[in-house]
């Protein structure tokens, strides 16, 4: 049975307004709406489409973190994932730890494909998928805007969004693919599916059972708001502009 493993992350809702804690140690998460990372939603959608086109047989969603990430897994199940795995830990997870945990899971589950969002909108690290591929020694195709699986040939053709335009790669399976915005539009979770999802199983594991050390290696010193934007000024002439650039901004 061929599987696709989709990693999903619980992050601050893309629409929520963010505030820094008064002690500047991080972002204030109390009373803030949390949702599935938008790029992870796209990954789940792509996995479901692969199953619908019979390229794979099973979609397994996985998330890592405290008890609340089960809500995110329920969303993935409601969209149509077959089963879910929750790696339970209270530890703050860094991209390398996540990649190690996913690698351990991939060795267990032996999926045909690992689908991840290209980055999470809280950290914006854009590292996990790449590190995962490195740890597994699997090919990677990141920023995917189109994915075509050739089951017979055991390869995938992925169009990537790069700075210069679009690049198309062919890679052998199993592989790691990370999703970009234009890959697809995620489906709505319907009420009947939400109800069915409540009955689907979520397997629980710990980092210890997977043999991964998730101790933090980075310490956040300070989190600050970006500098306040100053108002603009409407100038009367080019001469005025030159004068201001010279005298005030001191750039010419």
């Amino acid at each position: 049975m061929s599987k696709v493993l989709v990693a999903v992350k619980r992050v601050i809702d893309y629409n929520a307004r963010v505030r820094i804690k008064p002690d500047k140690s991080g972002v204030d998460l109390t009373n803030v709406k949390m949702s599935m990372n938008p790029f992870c939603e796209i990954a789940v959608e792509e996995a479901l489409r692969l199953r619908e086109s019979k390229a794979v047989d099973e979609v397994v969603a996985v998330s890592l973190g405290p008890q609340q990430v089960q809500e995110t897994l329920r969303t993935a199940l409601a969209m149509g994932a077959d089963r879910a795995i929750h790696v339970s830990t209270e530890q703050q997870l860094e991209p390398l730890a996540v990649a190690k945990l996913l690698a351990a899971l991939a060795r267990r589950e032996q999926p045909l494909l690992c689908l991840l969002g290209k980055q999470a909108i809280d950290g914006d690290n854009n590292q996990t998928g790449q590190m995962l591929a490195g740890l597994l020694s699997w090919p990677q195709a990141t920023f995917a805007s189109k994915v075509e699986l050739d089951k017979a040939a055991g390869s995938a053709k992925v169009t990537r969004e790069v700075d210069g335009g679009l690049e198309t790669l062919s890679c052998q399976l199993p592989a790691v693919i990370t999703t970009d915005l234009r890959l697809n539009e995620p489906r709505y979770a319907t009420l009947p599916n939400i109800m069915k999802a409540k009955k689907k199983s979520i397997a629980k594991l710990t980092p210890q059972e997977l043999g991964v050390d998730v101790t933090q290696q980075l310490v956040t010193l300070q989190v600050e708001e970006p500098a306040q934007r100053k108002g603009g000024v409407v100038l009367g002439s080019v001469a005025q502009l030159v004068e201001k650039l010279h005298k005030e901004a001191k750039v010419i």
């Binding site: 809702d13 629409n15 929520a16 307004r17 505030r19 009373n31 803030v32 709406k33 539009e185 995620p186 489906r187 709505y188 319907t190 009420l191 009947p192 939400i194 109800m195």
Partner: protein
Amino acid sequence: MFGLGLLARAARQHQLQCTVSRLFSSCRPLAAATGAVQQAQPREQLQYDLCIVGAGPAGLSAAIRFKQLCKEDNRDLSVCVIEKGSEVGAHILSGNVFEPRALDELFPKWSEQQGEGQAFADLPLRQKATADRFYMLTQGSSIRLPNPPQMKNRGKNYIISLSELTRWLAKHAEEQGVDVFPGFAGKEVLYDWHNAVVGVATGDMGIAKDGSRKPSYTPGVDLMARLTLFGEGARGSLSQSLMQHYGLREAAGASPQTYALGLKEVWEVPEEQHQPGLVVHTVGYPLDNSTYGGGWIYHMEGRRVSLGLVVGLDYANPSLSPYQEFQAFKRHPLVAATIVGGTCLQYGARSLNEGGLQSIPKLAFPGGALIGCSAGFLNTPKIKGTHTAMKSGIVAGEEAFRALGLADDAGKKGPITLRNYADRMEVSWVYQELERARNIRPGFSKWGLWGGMANAALSTYLLRGREPWTLKHRHADHEATKLARDWPPKDYPKPDGVTTFDIPTSLYRSGTNHNHDQPPHLVLADPGLPEVVNHPQYGGPEAKYCPAGVYEYAADEASGRPRLVINAQNCLHCKACSIKDPRQNITWTVPEGGGGPNYTIM
């Protein structure tokens, strides 16, 4: 024979689809902009014993009480709550100085179980009111007045965020086995051929602006229930349609409902300006003597202050802007002294009922009932409606359990009618309170600020609500708007960006968002009316009263004449336009579920 079999099956399917009659639905062929007719699909049906529309205090109290009784009696009945907000609490906005009377009935021992690890440890009732103040404001000063008895909160009531409390109630409800579904809007009431309510249809998702189906199109479902409770808050869209369908106001001989628009902000203020537990109410400035309303400043815990202005929507001047009046309120020295140097965290607006006892419609109908502010139990002089809404939910939940239990024991299927709900409400403390308070608000409409206060004092102190007369609401709010030519246009100063803001800045703080590629949810019965009536006769009041900047008049490129532009994406779901449009030309319908404001601490 094969053909006959097919025919019979088709007839049966048609009959199944026809047992439910509907107005808007994916069951009818849709003509897309291209002219192609898209094939009708039968919608999926989900069955519940009880369906509740609206995950607010009333709806959740009903669900929780229902499940409590199910547990006691060992009956397994199913209940679901649908909520149009993206999460529970997202569309909840309230002052709020909370009277825990109904909470005490729902959870009799909650205050003894707030220790670490106990059931009510994280119940968000953390700040008791410590002081009450009442002021009359003038342009530059404030005069302290004695506290009206209805505003005595010290030591009894809690200053809370109702959004937070509702989220807690939803979590508790889910733990008890209630299915809570945020992100799903009740689009249409479903009736059977006997004109009983048999459920609610949720809206289709993924429909484009032109009405065609996007690739993500997902049809809604029919939530079939033996009983449906409607707790959508003031001026709920389905509640309005039910009131029209069954003539619920006429059946009760009720006055038209009157409303006010409440605008609110939550600020984080410097330590020295914060007095936790302080409850301040104001009348007077910035509203003039003929406009009902007043302001509030509630000091919550954690340096947070809730403040706002309530403006009666029966105001006459068509160029009045409740939003701008709120900015003026914030400029007053008393208010500015509290918030200067602070940060505005959230903004929002919502209509509230002010009609009281006189405006309560018939509450129950075959297959359903109205609960909470959809019916209209808010106590106007107290400006509290949460405790009465919760009580109505509790009573409705109890009656629902009783009625469903009886029907089950008798083997009866089909829609349930709550025969005792309205009677029980009439003998409850809710009606007692509303009876005592009934003559206060109408006095202000009849006699302005000073006459109203004199009447209020008479009714409160002397007659104690026992006067033999009941003042009626003479007209609906939209009928009170006068023509623009009779009233000088109101000029409002520009915002300073420090304590006062423009609408786009405030709107950003409400977290409001809608998928922009959907049909506009604000429907004009006559699309040409704004250019012929609203603008020339009333000066375009919708552009003034909408607290979200949804309505704008822009010069049409071709003719140069002002044309109404509707920015439906900005909508805060406050329902003011549904209430105040002079010709009632605007119908507020529910947009795609999950859209709207995202209040978290309101």
